[in-house]
Symmetry: C2
Subunit: 398 residues, 2 copies
């Protein structure tokens, strides 16, 4: 997902973080699970921490929670601001807040940095209590199921009795799907956006090139690198490349075209960035390496590539057999990473498995990242699905 | 373009290089231009060498030459074999040979490694006679026009009075277009395949990430690296990524899907390549770094990105005003790097400029590299266009 998703400008008369419809200043918290945790691989760690944020209030019946699941490069900070001087709100601030599509006056919204991540939750850069040194690539192999199982322990610790909904885009959609399969009686609704039930060879290929860029960088050093060092070149290249896959051909042409930097516009005989799209991507790569751990990038992309519930079950329809949730699946027309037809296939498999599911395809030329961007249609879909409850009319066509 | 384009298996009773329809064993030659050569940038070098191959015989009237133009990673060796033990023929061996679509019994076929290249022609890895050291990134900035101007000197030295045709795919299509614009009375026909009159922002972006992978590799060292060393990691990553753009989503799914290596097929908890598509790409990257110069990769991708004849002329139609050639433009349905509509736009601009041009779109799921692959439809199109001459019926729909 992009770094440059911004909330709409707030009125100048008040600080942005106090704008109407915003959750304001938020503070992350940590959940520490003290006991052992066994991964799908069979490996065990002695406890873990998950960093999370919540917005809104848990109801007396503890059943109004909406779990937000983040994508590869996202984190637990999906709404609000971290301080009065914070330059940027949470990544889904346009969707979540009082009166917004995910209405924090009504729902208790929670978002958790995934296990294996690097924004406060336990992952490869965390200290292994058994050795006093960072896990690095001794951290157990993480799957989407492991992420979900760890998050369920956090939700239990908060006394949440069931999820009003779980929702996410891209990898967040995989996480949502896994919640609905793994904890069917806990998960009343799922919203899956710009996701897939298993990646195409092309999507795996892009992730693999990113991993190779990291692992072939000598500074990766088999995962052993200092906190402020490491394979910055490889991680930056991986991010630049991946970023192209989050946009669309048409969207990039509209945003950048063949425009060149500076006023000249003529031919500059240099290998420096000349086209605007070049400097944009360079910026994306550079800002990413300052906030993301390269080993986490390896772990999380592998979790995404391995996600394939149909494989073990025999078919996606069979994999969805236990699901109790009602489902809304949203594809975006110009998303070529996890294209509309892969999202539609999720909804179709749910319907074939006898579940209540609907699919909507939104017209956009903004590519995979469309789920993060302003869209009144998307807001209306989400609001309608979350608020109409059992009476929700599944009136979208497949 | 891919490395794995292979000629169809020949009968086992004779060596492959003597198979019917093949040009047999071929030997590259060098053309040395002794005088100064001034690039579009204004920079000058004191002479250059171009390596080339020819197949067939130049007619008495010296007007049966067909110039083949190679793509980014191609070279002058487009047909035949270099020795009896050669494991692989030239990159367009399926198209060129006695009785083939480009019939060497009739045409004098010539293919030239581009100026700026690294397969025998003068480029960044060549020795600068002024210093006795390799040019490296002191080599002048190369444009498609420079490549064409240098090739014209070679053709003149052979006494070729006019080209029966110039043809190429991808960058080779740009080269062909430039020949028809720059030497209109010399160029009777042009065949442009899987090409573009100017790249999209997305295509520029992919090239830029490849260049960054090379230039951010510490072993690049501002272009100063030993012949057997250099930014092998960066060049390999650039190639792996670019290779994805030469294929198609559907083609990759058909070729690799989510198949894993080995018999297990289960989940392997490792960062090693597991999916077949991963090891395929690793192989592509590794084989490329043994045959290509990283600085040449920078120069040639920049030449491709800068190619934009419409910009200086005001429109593509105006840029094509001098063209005398008849044109055949071929797009491939699943090519998302230089998509069909960009090829169609070339043909349309030629027609609007009052030229004879036709456009054909071939159905294929093999992506950008389709122009290199076996296709009876493509063979028929090319043969018809080359052989029917003035009577050629422009009966394809635009």
């Amino acid at each position: 997902m992009t770094d440059d998703v911004q909330a709409p400008p707030a009125p100048s008369t008040e600080p942005r973080h106090l704008a109407a419809g915003d959750v304001g200043i938020v503070r992350p918290r940590d959940f520490a699970h003290p006991g052992p945790f066994t991964f799908k691989s069979g490996q065990t760690i002695q406890g873990f921490t998950l960093r999370y944020e919540t917005y809104g209030a848990l109801s007396a019946t503890r059943d109004n929670a909406v779990l937000i699941c983040h994508a590869l490069s996202g984190d637990h900070h999906c709404a609000g601001w971290h301080s009065e001087s914070d330059g940027k709100p949470g990544w889904w601030n346009n969707l979540i807040g009082p009166g917004k599509a995910v209405d924090t006056r009504r729902f208790f919204v929670i978002c958790i940095n995934v296990l294996g991540g690097c924004q406060g939750s336990t992952g490869p850069s965390s200290t292994d209590p058994a050795t006093g040194r960072p896990y690095r690539i001794r951290f157990p192999f993480v799957t989407i199921r492991d992420m979900v199982n760890a998050q369920k322990l956090l939700l239990d610790s908060l006394g949440i009795t069931e999820l009003h909904a779980v929702m996410g885009g891209s990898m967040g959609g995989m996480t949502a799907m896994m919640f609905a399969m793994e904890y069917p009686h806990f998960t009343r609704r799922q919203v899956i956006m710009a996701s897939t039930a298993n990646e195409s060879a092309q999507a795996i290929a892009f992730n693999e090139v990113g991993r190779q860029a990291i692992m072939q960088d000598p500074a990766w050093n088999q995962g052993e690198y200092p906190r402020d060092g490491g394979p910055r070149v490889g991680l930056g290249i991986a991010r630049m490349m991946a970023h192209i896959t989050y946009l669309s051909d048409a969207g990039m042409d509209r945003k950048f075209g063949r425009r060149k930097r500076g006023s000249a516009g003529g031919e500059a005989y240099t290998f420096d960035a000349q086209f605007e799209v070049e400097s944009y991507l360079l910026h994306q790569g550079q800002s990413f390496i300052n906030r993301f751990d390269a080993n986490s990038y390896l772990y999380i992309t592998k979790a995404i590539d391995q996600f394939d519930p149909a494989r073990a079950a025999g078919s996606l329809e069979l994999a969805f057999a236990p699901v109790q949730a009602e489902s809304l699946v949203v594809g975006f027309a110009s998303d070529w990473l996890f294209p509309p037809e892969q999202n539609r296939a999720i909804a179709l498999a749910l319907l074939r498995a006898g579940k209540r599911a609907s699919y909507a395809e939104l017209a956009t030329d903004l590519g995979h990242d469309s789920f993060l961007l302003e869209s009144d249609e998307l807001y209306a879909l989400v609001r309608g699905f979350l608020e109409r409850g059992e009476a929700y009319a599944f009136d979208f066509t497949i």
